[in-house]
């Protein structure tokens, strides 16, 4: 057994038992961050804070929400919105955060793509991040079922039907997922469980993995420079704080991080208080009705780009391409054949690929929102083809890239 002495303070008492000073060093004050970064490096912390907002608001919603097909709609739209004091606040925070979290995830993703932060030992950061994207998508979808409005029901119908695999006609699988021929009580019950327990657990585990994946390769920097973290941190600890290329995670980097979080939160609560409507589809204020499809079924904005890839093709091809779009980002570190891990602006053809991909995804998102008719169908079709073609071209253009 370890040797314990009489504690001289509460801190010392804890230190002997939990090594809190050591933990603090490993996790914060001697966790080294490059100095050469910008505000885009704060998106990780913004996501942590947004996730915390989702958890806290979710806890309060959970106390009044009733997961039955008869009462779900009223428990949200009457009990929580009208009876519970500040119930509206939790609901609007939850709804707005669910939407905004995807905006920040996309910024975080495209920052990583632009600066090449998925290369040279950072592959697991990227892969765990994309697994988080999938987990957040599942969380968003399962949560969208819970108010049991028209959009909940029909989104549930359409998305579960994807699992029939087109011509495979795996209707048994679809019925198994739903626990019924159509979305009903069994469906609502299991998606409630997924939303409040299983998927959040997975998300928390993946966040742990995502952070752990950062420890060894460390955070990337604006120039993709390979920093000797041991040497630079020694320089810092020896007193040459100005000459060192790194700084402490806390409080050096955190102070700037939280500054960005502060600005984000002002924007976030502006949306929550004054402009929450974008996160609340009016169609979902009609209770679920299995005999009436809404005129236009579209997902929330953050799923539109992949939905649009499904739409213009026949079902089998559409499903195949949809599946391709869902998983292809995971493989980015292996499809990018270039040895350079520098910002896209210095990488020749990849620069155009990056901006092209961003534009194509915005076009797909816009077309996904519009009704599938006439010119919109055509633009959507071409954008979907360009999206696929760009991914096929990626290994070719990056292997042609000159080594810097």
């Amino acid at each position: 057994m370890a040797h314990f002495t009489k504690a001289t303070s509460v801190k010392d008492w804890l230190n002997q038992r939990l090594a809190i000073e050591k933990v603090e060093k490993v996790m914060a004050s001697e966790y080294w961050i490059p100095k050469n970064i910008n505000f885009l490096w704060a998106m990780g912390m913004v996501l942590v804070i947004t996730f915390a907002l989702l958890v806290v608001s979710g806890i309060f919603l959970l106390m009044y929400y009733v997961p039955t097909v008869d009462e779900a709609f009223n428990s949200v739209n009457y009990t929580i919105m009208r009876e519970v004091d500040f119930g509206w606040l939790w609901r609007h925070v939850h709804g707005v955060a669910a939407s905004v979290v995807f905006l920040v995830i996309y910024i975080h993703m495209f920052t990583g793509i632009y600066y090449g932060s998925y290369k040279k030992g950072r592959e697991m950061i990227w892969i765990s991040g994309m697994l988080l994207f999938i987990a957040f998508s599942t969380e968003a979808f399962s949560g969208y079922m819970l108010p049991w409005g028209q959009m909940s029901y029909w989104a549930g119908m359409v998305i579960t039907n994807l699992f029939s695999g087109g011509s495979l006609h795996a209707d048994g699988l679809v019925e198994w997922i739903r626990g019924d021929y159509v979305p009903a009580q069994a469906f609502l019950g299991r998606f409630f469980m997924l939303h409040v327990l299983l998927v959040p657990l997975a998300i928390m585990g993946l966040i742990g993995l995502h952070f752990a994946a950062l420890r060894i390769p460390h955070v990337n920097n604006q120039d993709g420079e390979e920093i000797d973290f041991d040497a630079e941190s020694k320089k810092y600890l020896d007193g040459d704080k100005v000459g060192s290329k790194v700084m402490r995670f806390a409080n050096d980097f955190m102070s700037k991080d939280m500054m960005v979080v502060g600005i984000f939160l002002i924007f976030f609560f502006y949306l929550t208080f004054y402009n929450y409507g974008f996160a609340m589809d009016p169609v979902n204020f009609d209770p679920a009705d299995g005999l009436k499809t809404p005129a236009h079924i579209y997902p929330e904005w953050y799923f539109l780009w992949s939905y649009e890839i499904l739409r213009p093709f026949n079902i089998d091809l559409g499903l195949a391409l949809f599946g391709f779009a869902q998983v292809i980002f995971v493989f980015l570190p292996f499809l990018d054949r270039s040895p350079n891990s520098v910002p896209a602006s210095r990488r020749g053809a990849f620069k155009y690929w990056f901006w092209g991909m961003l534009i194509v995804m915005i076009v797909l998102t816009a077309m996904g929102k519009l009704p599938p008719e006439g010119i919109y169908s055509t633009i959507g079709l071409y954008a979907a083809i360009i999206f696929i073609a760009m991914w096929v071209a990626l290994p070719i253009i990056t292997s042609l890239e000159k080594k810097l």
């Binding site: 019925e175 159509v182 005999l291 499809t293 026949n314 079902i315 009704p371 008719e373």
Partner: protein
């Protein structure tokens, strides 16, 4: 060495016990997600076919799904003449001709709307179109409306029960 092989054996023995347990619990988990017996036993729907009017689409309900019932007019029947695919889907009860089908788009399960002026169906989700006999006229739907199992009993149609007419359709690949 002796103790190593003993540990090796114990490890394998635990692995075997755990594997049996894992398979067993996966079976239980899978079965717990199956539709409940009460859901599966969801009854049969009997439709009185004499009440429908020509050209007026009526939506009935069977196992939670919408069922389209459309009594076809002489003009529609004239148009269908010679179209084997459409004729194979026709349900004749007495002297009347019907289209009876599950009213879910075969693409992803939205309910297409009936356009009375055009006499066809348009799915709002992804723009699929179906004609009055339930055949696809515009993709993405991969096939015409599915036809629920039915049995003709005089003037009524029992949904959920397999009659000879439906069996023929299924055998000929007219419906799934």
């Amino acid at each position: 060495m002796k103790s190593n092989s003993r540990r090796g054996f114990m490890g394998k023995a635990f692995g075997a016990v755990a594997a049996v347990g894992a398979v067993g619990s996966l079976v239980a988990m899978k079965k717990s997600w199956d539709p409940l017996p009460s859901v599966k036993a969801a009854g049969f729907t009997t439709l009185d076919m004499s009440i429908y009017e020509e050209g007026l689409m009526v939506t009935e309900k069977w196992r939670g799904k919408p069922i389209f019932v459309l009594k076809k007019s002489a003009a529609v029947m004239e148009k269908e003449k010679g179209n084997a695919a459409a004729e194979a889907r026709n349900i004749k009860i007495g002297n009347d001709n019907f289209m009876v089908a599950i009213g879910l788009c075969t693409h992803l399960g939205c309910i297409p709307a009936f356009r009375e002026a055009e006499g066809d169906f348009l799915c709002a989700c992804h723009g699929g179109q179906f004609d009055a006999s339930g055949l696809v006229t515009k993709v993405p739907p991969p096939r015409g409306f599915d036809i629920p199992p039915f049995k003709i009993e005089g003037n009524t149609l029992v949904l959920g029960e397999v009659g000879p007419e439906w069996q023929t359709m299924k055998d000929n690949g007219v419906t799934l």
